[in-house]
Structure formats: structure tokens, C-alpha cells
């Protein structure tokens, strides 16, 4: 980890947001970036240009980031500021987003490092130009039901041992049967949810140039009582993006799940190694 020594309190660092092909300097100049003070500008390297901002190195050390990232409000502020620059750039020219917090000790270092990666930027631009990223989330159709009443007959699970099942002679067996009922319903629900997720994913893959599964989001962001069963994202050609809403509508009807689409996004998920 590079540390900013105590001898260099005034040192500057260069924050890189994205790499573009033929960006419009006017669009960039209007953006605020992640720090107040220095305006955003273009750093040209070869045929490409990076959108950069000069920041105080002392504000962007590893320690500073650690503190910032453990504060939900700060994390949100920086993530949105970064995303805003990337989105604005992408609206005006082909853009490859960099993840949050790519920093260099000055312009020369940045140009060297970026230039060395030209081939990767070129490949990413080639793959994503004319495409957008679309997020697709699927939520299970119904909330989980409560345990059945004690003594209620559990659904039969096939092949439980040659029909030896009798009316519960004791509390222990009744308990086990009840547990088995819960397990069976849980399994059914699980299977249904998995099937729906696979169906939706397969349908979107057909429209998309590429697709990726993202980690499922917790209920905190999914919304109360909603169970997310698919969080995927697809790279879709602009000429096909109009089909997505209708596809979601049809899948919603056929699977009984709730389906949400978000986008178009700058293709963050498809510029790295795929």
C-alpha cells in the first residue's frame, strides 16, 4: 500500500473516473467530480482520453478511504459522484468506466499507466459500443407461510419407507413430521424460485449480447418482505433494448414473479475481463 508520507502534506493526486474515445471537453467541464476545487479535465493518451480530477493526496490515502467507506453517508456520496461523472461522459461519447478510487501520483504516472492499458480499453470499447447494461431483478411471488398447526398432516414426501407412516404415537414423531412438512414446503418454494430465476435469466440471455449474475441483494435494499431470487445484468444492443419491457411483462405473467428492470446503465459489468 502506498502511503503519503508526512513530508508531503500538500501533494496532489490524480483521480481517474473513466476512459473515453473523443470526449466533449464542454460536457466534462460542467461536472463537479468527487472533490470541490479542481475542475474535471481530460488527460489524453494515444487515441483515448481519461476524465480526471486533481485532488489532495492527503484526502485520498488508504486510511482516508477506509474511514470514508465505513460511513454509509460518505460511501453513498462518493459512489454517486463517481457514477454521475461516468454516466454524463457515457451520454456523450463511448466510455469505459473505472471503478471507484483509481488514483495516481500525478499526471505523468497516470498517462504511463493508462497508455500501457490501451489494448484493454480498446477491447472494452469495441465490446460495449452501441450497447447498454440492463439490470434485471426477480422477486419470489409470495411471502413465506407460517408453520402449519401442530398435528396438521404434512404433505407426503414420496418413498419414506414402505408405508410405515402411522398416526403419530408421540410428540417426538409429530415434531419430526411437522419439521418434515416445513422442509417440504420450503423445498418446493425454493425449487419454484430457482426455476423462475432460471427461466427469466434464460429469456434475457437470448436478447442480450452477454449476461452476468450479480450477488443477491438483501431485504434492506430489496424492500420489506420481498425475497430476491435473481439479480442479473445484461449487455443489450441499443436496437434491442425496446424489447426488454415487453419481455419482462410476459415473464411476469408466465412465472408469477415480480420482475424489475433498471437501465440503461453504462456497461460497468461488461468492460472488465469477461
Amino acid at each position: 500500500m502506498t502511503e503519503c508520507g508526512p513530508g508531503l502534506p500538500e501533494a496532489d493526486a490524480l483521480y481517474v473516473f473513466a476512459v473515453c474515445r473523443e470526449p466533449d471537453p464542454a460536457v466534462i467541464a460542467d461536472l463537479r467530480g468527487i472533490a470541490t476545487g479542481a475542475p474535471l479535465r481530460l488527460l489524453r493518451f494515444g487515441e483515448l482520453a481519461a476524465i480526471v480530477q486533481t485532488v489532495r493526496a492527503a484526502d485520498f490515502t488508504d486510511e482516508a478511504w477506509q474511514a470514508r467507506m465505513s460511513d454509509r453517508g460518505e460511501l453513498e456520496r462518493y459512489a454517486r459522484a463517481h457514477h454521475h461523472v461516468v454516466s454524463a461522459a457515457a451520454a456523450s461519447c463511448p466510455t469505459v468506466p473505472l471503478p471507484l478510487a483509481t488514483l495516481y501520483h500525478g499526471e505523468e504516472r497516470a498517462s504511463q499507466a493508462l497508455f500501457a492499458e490501451t489494448e484493454r480499453f480498446r477491447a472494452a470499447l469495441k465490446r460495449t459500443t452501441g450497447h447498454s447494461e440492463w439490470g434485471v431483478k426477480v422477486y419470489a411471488g409470495e411471502p413465506p407461510t407460517a408453520d402449519p398447526e401442530p398435528g396438521a398432516l404434512p404433505p407426503r414426501v414420496p418413498d419414506t419407507g414402505g408405508g410405515r407412516l402411522r398416526p403419530a404415537p408421540g410428540a417426538g414423531l409429530a415434531y419430526l413430521e411437522r419439521k418434515r412438512g416445513v422442509q417440504a414446503r420450503r423445498e418446493r418454494r425454493h425449487e419454484d424460485a430457482l426455476r423462475s430465476a432460471e427461466t427469466v435469466d434464460a429469456a434475457f440471455q437470448k436478447v442480450a449480447a452477454a449476461g452476468r449474475r450479480l450477488r443477491l441483494q438483501p431485504q434492506e435494499s430489496a424492500g420489506k418482505g420481498r425475497l430476491q431470487v435473481l439479480n442479473a445484468t445484461y449487455l443489450v444492443g441499443e436496437h434491442r433494448s425496446a424489447e426488454l419491457a415487453e419481455l419482462a411483462r410476459a415473464l411476469r405473467a408466465s412465472t408469477g414473479t415480480e420482475i424489475e428492470i433498471s437501465g440503461p446503465w453504462v456497461p460497468y459489468s461488461f468492460v472488465g475481463e469477461v
Partner: protein
């Protein structure tokens, strides 16, 4: 919901204002083309600690109660892994039930 989302986004690229924070984070932290920087920030660590643990694990218990726990394995492998886990658990339960029934039979017989 979908129709609203789509209708609201008049711009070619959605602005940050109407976009869910979790959706942004999973893209700006994890994705984008990664190149080596001078100031190295271990975002993976940060993410694991602050996002995956604090935000995500909070609801794992709730979701487990609903029987869905397959993000615990790699999402790409999840369906198969989850099926196997469920089959194992199911078989285990059946065996335990049969063992108990057998004991109960013995008692009735004696």
C-alpha cells in the same frame, strides 16, 4: 414498477438521483475496468467488511427462514449447489425419521 422505471428515464443514461444505491455500489465497487493505481485501495476488503457483512448478512437469517440461501455459494454455481445441499438435508432428515420410527416399532413390538 418496471414500466415506471423505464418511463421515468428520459435520458440515455440514468442519472444518479433516481438510481438505487445498492445498484450503483455493486457496479462502481466491483465492476469497471480495473487498472493498477499508485494509491492502492483495497476496495475488496472494504466491500467485504462494510457492504457484504454489514448490509448483506443482516438479512441472511430472515431469508434462510424462507428457505432461500443459495447466495452462500457462488451465484454462478448456486442452483446446482443448492439442489445438492437440499437433497442432502432431505436425505438426512428421512434417515433420522426412519431411525426414530424403527425405535418406536421396536418398543411397540416388545
Amino acid at each position: 414498477m418496471t414500466d415506471l422505471d423505464l418511463g421515468r428515464e428520459a435520458y440515455p443514461i440514468p442519472g444518479p438521483q433516481n438510481t438505487n444505491l445498492a445498484d450503483i455500489l455493486e457496479r462502481v465497487l466491483d465492476k469497471g475496468i480495473v487498472i493498477a493505481g499508485d494509491i492502492k485501495i483495497d476496495l475488496l476488503d472494504i466491500e467485504l467488511l462494510t457492504i457484504r457483512l454489514r448490509l448483506f448478512v443482516a438479512s441472511v437469517d430472515t431469508a434462510k427462514k424462507a428457505g432461500i440461501d443459495w447466495w452462500e455459494t457462488d451465484p454462478a454455481l448456486s442452483s446446482r449447489a443448492a439442489r445438492h445441499a437440499l437433497q442432502d438435508e432431505n436425505r438426512d432428515l428421512r434417515e433420522r425419521l426412519e431411525a426414530l420410527e424403527a425405535k418406536s416399532d421396536e418398543k411397540t413390538a416388545s
